[in-house]
């Protein structure tokens, strides 16, 4: 999967959950959304990217992907 596209998608999701005042809720929100709606090869690619680099992911997205 094209990683740039997945990064954009993950950051878009994070942008929504950024409004959550409770940081734990925000991280859980991003994590659950990806876990419940992303196909495994997409999750796998993003997890690998986060482990190897992750620099293009927002801080919230990085935290959430780390929990996947």
């Amino acid at each position: 999967m094209k990683i740039e596209r997945l990064i954009t998608m993950a950051n878009d999701i994070s942008n929504y959950f950024n409004a959550e005042p409770d940081r734990k809720d925000a991280v859980a929100g991003v994590r659950n959304h990806i876990a419940h709606s992303w196909e495994p090869r997409m999750r796998k690619a993003l997890i690998e990217y986060n482990q190897q680099d992750g620099s293009e992911l927002s801080e919230l997205a990085r935290a959430a992907v780390a929990e996947l």
């Binding site: 998608m9 929504y16 409004a19 196909e39 495994p40 090869r41 997409m42």
Partner: protein, 950 residues
């Protein structure tokens, strides 16, 4: 089978609950107060002669044929305009009345051509019937001047207007006003000169007429007559079915002669449309028998090869073996499918079941991905059910109507007529739209109280500002929130909204809407008794589409506008069965009934029912399928009834993905754009050729009934079944009713749905359960459908789209559709509807056009970050400065060459409504258009080769 003609009671039914007792011709009758004498008589089988009255419009009292005598009353009142009275005694027949009626008919006939035997209305003419009813035997008058030489108007492609046969009863004029709400017709002149006039004495085609056909249906003579009846004669039997165009889901009588549809007549008993229709549903059915229909299965090894016509068996076996081969080589998850919102519930259910159980993965998606997937997400999260809350009739109880990002007069015309009726009765109107849609000020007798003409992509800033006014000006319905909603979520939301950044004054800089207008509109919505919100793709097709749906839900809950008639949150669904295709489990993370595939209990339930192991992992969404195709991990696609090669965004990317696949199986009635990239073509069946059901935007499950045999032998559900069996997952349905029975057994909100019930009731709105065996017009009346029964408020931070205007791309392109064409146009482009719209045009504000030296009709190049296309300019003030607009009905337009891959954060619904572009005057089509024209031509040659060799 028979015509089973619908009875005409002469005047509309009264909705009064009080009853009146009277006597008509000695028979006792009890009817609701306000009923006309004519209708009361008709209710007991006494048909008083009439010409100017019909029960779809208010009585007029002009023809004087329906006169009666009332004991103790004076003269001979018209029974159509005389309401019943307690104890009234009415005589409908006596010599005096007969003499008057004969005299009236004599006058009518003296100026009417006596060509009954060759008249197209012969056998269906009320004038002829009335001449018989009153016993007319001679016409004594020999008028010097008549209308018999009046010129016929054949300009409308679907009906003719022959004024020589007009009796000036005004039924057409009143139908245009009352039923359709267009006011295109009038009676011009006085006395003998009186005549029906479209607009300012124009022909029908060039007038304001929208060709809904209400006038044709209302006409009692052959004055306004369907050309199909003129050409083929009167139909001899009728079958009730449901329209296959938009999400209104109008009920129709398909009036037939053998297996030929003569005309589609909107069904008076249709609960979605109440006997009304639009130009598409009533007239644009010719595509079903168009010469472009492909009726033989075809295969080929590559898209460079000629098609080869083969038997059904060979095509099915080839398709199955290709799918098996790809899975064997690339893995179980390397194939998937797309269900269709144009197909029936039963067919959609079957395709998703075939993919989940037969393919062994959840790689199934549907076109709702590109339209209303944010509705599913947002309303499921907040209300607990992924659907609109009301029935259409609910709008007649609304006091203020908010239309957001929708254009009902074009997209959902029959519902728009009902909405316009309510607006003419005095309901207030708020429009939220970047463009001046007809409802703003172009629909007669309607003027929006507020048009919040926001900049594209700023919906969420606007909805937050509206909510800010509600929260800060004490307009919250505290009792409703406390009783019906999750209070903790409300308090969190209130704190969020109550930030200065959400104020109308702060958001005005983002939205471009004056703060005072936002405040006034919010107050109006929050303080009127019943506030209803209707929205469309102008809400969902944004990077914050789901956030906006949530914002709308929040606002409705905060103001208590839910759970009763006249209120609610109502997505206007684009296609006939978008709601149904979603309900049936077409999303890759949800089984039927929106139940998550990851839930082991749910999964075990479906595994037991379907007798197959099921994956607990979400599958690929449509755009993910394209990405996976390009990385070599998704190689096989079964696409039923969708045209992703035209409808999906960033079309060059889509085409590249389709080219990368090893087996694309397209099941459709035409060689659509997607089929040009296919390796297997399985001919589909139109809605006229099969049984099933559609579910419209108000959750109404309506019958689709076969009126002719499938041109390609099989209905689509049968094709899916054959393919499934060939692949090794057995299916043995003998009729779609069995599929519906299975759906009802698996989907709790359908538990009491059956074909028998649908036939008995005409249609039924889900939830249809033990508690609500006849369906549910209004959702969330007692409690929300979430697990805890409480409505959930969610936060809606405005996040600007990443699709920014820059000096290089200084304009925003937004897209929409037009009344006469339908989505990708595969159906309507193959009808006479092209008379109204034969090409997509680019709307440009005069200032933007002048800056670039563009005048109306110029060819204009439109360039975005994704691509470039060329359209002709339409210079108009309907769009605001800085915004351009086009429709997407013609593949050669390449509207989706320029749309980008930006999408909704929650669902990946594309951001069709926001593309930064630059435009310039050009002289030739774009490179893409030229290349695509060549490709299309080549593909049509490859098709012709197949047909030639067959």
């Amino acid at each position: 089978m028979s015509m089973n003609k619908e009875k005409d009671f002469g005047t509309p039914a009264s909705v009064a609950t009080q009853t009146i007792n009277l006597e008509i011709d000695g028979f006792k009758v009890t009817v609701p107060a306000g009923t006309s004498v004519m209708r009361a008589a008709a209710s007991i089988g006494i048909d008083i002669p009439k010409l100017c009255a019909t029960d779809s419009i208010e009585p007029f009292g002009s023809c004087r044929l329906c006169v009666v005598q009332i004991e103790g009353g004076r003269g001979m009142p018209a029974s159509c305009t005389t309401p019943v009275g307690e104890g009234m005694k009415v005589a409908t027949q006596n010599k005096k009345l007969a003499d008057v009626r004969r005299g009236v008919m004599e006058l009518y006939i003296s100026d009417h051509p006596l060509d009954c035997l060759t008249c197209s209305a012969n056998g269906d003419c009320e004038l002829q019937d009335m001449a018989g009813a009153v016993g007319l035997r001679e016409v004594r008058y020999k008028p010097v001047t008549t209308h018999l030489d009046a010129k016929k108007d054949n300009s409308n492609p679907y009906f003719s207007f022959d004024p020589s046969k007009c009796i000036v009863c005004s039924r057409c004029v009143r139908a245009c006003e009352e039923t359709q709400g267009t006011f295109a017709l009038t009676i011009d002149g006085r006395g003998f000169d009186s005549k029906v006039s479209p607009s300012q004495n124009q022909d029908f085609l060039s007038s304001e007429c929208v060709s809904c056909g209400a006038c044709v249906q209302a006409c009692p003579t052959a004055t306004l007559m369907e050309k199909s009846v003129i050409d083929h004669g009167q139909p001899e039997h009728a079958i009730v079915t449901t329209c296959a165009y938009c999400g209104v889901g109008c009920s129709f009588r398909a009036e037939m002669k053998g297996d030929q549809v003569i005309r589609m007549v909107p069904n008076k008993d249709g609960k979605a449309n109440h006997g009304h229709s639009c130009v598409k549903g009533r007239f644009a059915f010719g595509y079903a028998t168009h010469k472009d229909r492909i009726t033989k299965p075809m295969i080929r090894a590559s898209i460079k090869d000629a098609w080869q016509e083969v038997s059904w068996e060979e095509a099915i076996n080839h398709a199955a073996s290709e799918l098996r081969r790809i899975q064997a080589k690339y893995g179980k998850d390397s194939i998937g499918g797309i269900t269709s919102s144009r197909c029936t519930n039963e067919e959609t259910y079957l395709v998703q079941k075939f993919i989940r159980a037969g393919f062994g993965n959840n790689n199934v998606d549907t076109c709702a991905r590109v339209c209303h997937s944010p509705t599913g997400y947002g309303l499921k999260k907040t209300f607990g059910e992924a659907s609109g809350t009301q029935d259409f009739d609910s709008v007649m109880d609304s006091d203020v109507i908010v239309v957001i990002g929708a254009n009902p007069t074009d997209g959902h015309p029959v519902f728009a007529s009902m909405m316009k009726k309510r607006l003419r009765q005095g309901a207030k109107l708020i429009i939220v739209d970047p463009r001046e849609i007809d409802l703003v000020n172009k629909s007669p007798h309607i003027q929006a109280d507020y048009h919040l003409k926001l900049r594209p992509s700023t919906n969420v800033a606007l909805i937050n500002a509206l909510a800010y006014v509600v929260v800060t000006e004490n307009l919250v319905d505290e009792d409703f929130v406390k009783a019906r909603c999750d209070v903790a979520s409300f308090e969190k939301w209130r704190t969020f909204i109550n930030q200065e950044k959400n104020s109308p004054e702060a958001s005005a800089a983002i939205t471009g809407v004056p703060a005072a207008d936002i405040r006034a509109a919010a107050r109006l919505y929050a303080t009127e008794k019943n506030g209803a919100i209707y929205y469309g793709l102008g809400v969902t097709e944004h990077s914050q589409g789901s956030t906006m749906v949530i914002g709308i839900a929040n606002l409705a809950m905060a103001t208590g506008n839910l759970g009763r008639r006249g209120v609610g949150v109502n997505p206007l669904r684009g296609q006939n069965n978008v709601q149904g295709s979603c309900d049936m489990g077409s999303f890759p993370h949800e089984f039927p009934g929106y139940r998550n595939v990851a839930d082991p209990v749910t999964r075990a339930f479906f595994e037991d029912a379907w007798q197959a192991p099921l994956s607990g992992e979400p599958g690929l969404r449509i755009p993910n399928m394209f990405d996976a195709a390009l990385d070599g991990s998704f190689l096989g696609l079964y696409c039923e009834g969708e045209d992703i090669a035209q409808s999906d965004p960033d079309i060059k990317h889509v085409h590249a993905a389709l080219r990368a696949m090893e087996c694309v199986i397209v099941q459709d009635i035409f060689l659509n754009e997607t089929a040009k990239f296919a390796h297997v073509f399985l001919p589909g069946a139109s809605f006229l050729e099969k049984d099933g059901t559609f579910t419209n935007a108000e959750r109404r499950i309506s019958p689709v009934r076969k009126v002719m045999k499938p041109l390609a032998t099989y209905a689509d559900w049968e094709v899916t079944q054959m393919l499934s069996n060939a692949l090794g997952y057995p299916m043995n349905y003998s009729h779609p009713s069995e599929i519906m029975d299975e759906i009802a057994s698996l989907k709790p909100t359908f538990s009491h749905v059956s074909y028998q019930k649908i036939d008995e009731l005409g249609s039924v709105q889900w939830p249809c359960t033990e508690e609500a065996p006849e369906g549910t017009p209004t959702l969330h009346e007692e409690h929300f459908l979430r697990d805890n029964g409480k409505g959930l408020f969610m936060l809606t931070e405005y996040v600007a789209t990443s699709e920014k205007i820059t000096p290089m791309f200084p304009l925003i392109l937004t897209t929409g559709r037009i009344l006469s064409q339908y989505n990708v146009g595969a159906q309507t482009r193959r009808t006479e509807n092209n008379a109204w719209h034969s090409e997509d045009r680019l709307e440009i504000h005069p200032h933007d056009a002048e800056d670039r030296g563009i005048v109306d009709g110029d060819w204009v190049g439109i360039k975005s970050r994704a691509g470039e296309t060329v359209l002709r300019a339409l210079v108009t003030e309907r769009v605001q400065v800085g915004v351009v607009y086009t429709t997407f009905h013609f593949p050669e337009s390449g509207a989706n060459v320029i749309t980008t891959d930006n999408s909704d954060w929650a669902t990946n619904c594309p951001e069709y409504k926001v593309t930064a572009v630059q435009i310039a005057k050009v002289l030739a089509p774009s490179e893409w258009q030229q290349n695509y024209a060549d490709f299309s031509e080549q593909q049509l040659e490859l098709l012709e080769a197949a047909q030639h060799n067959a």
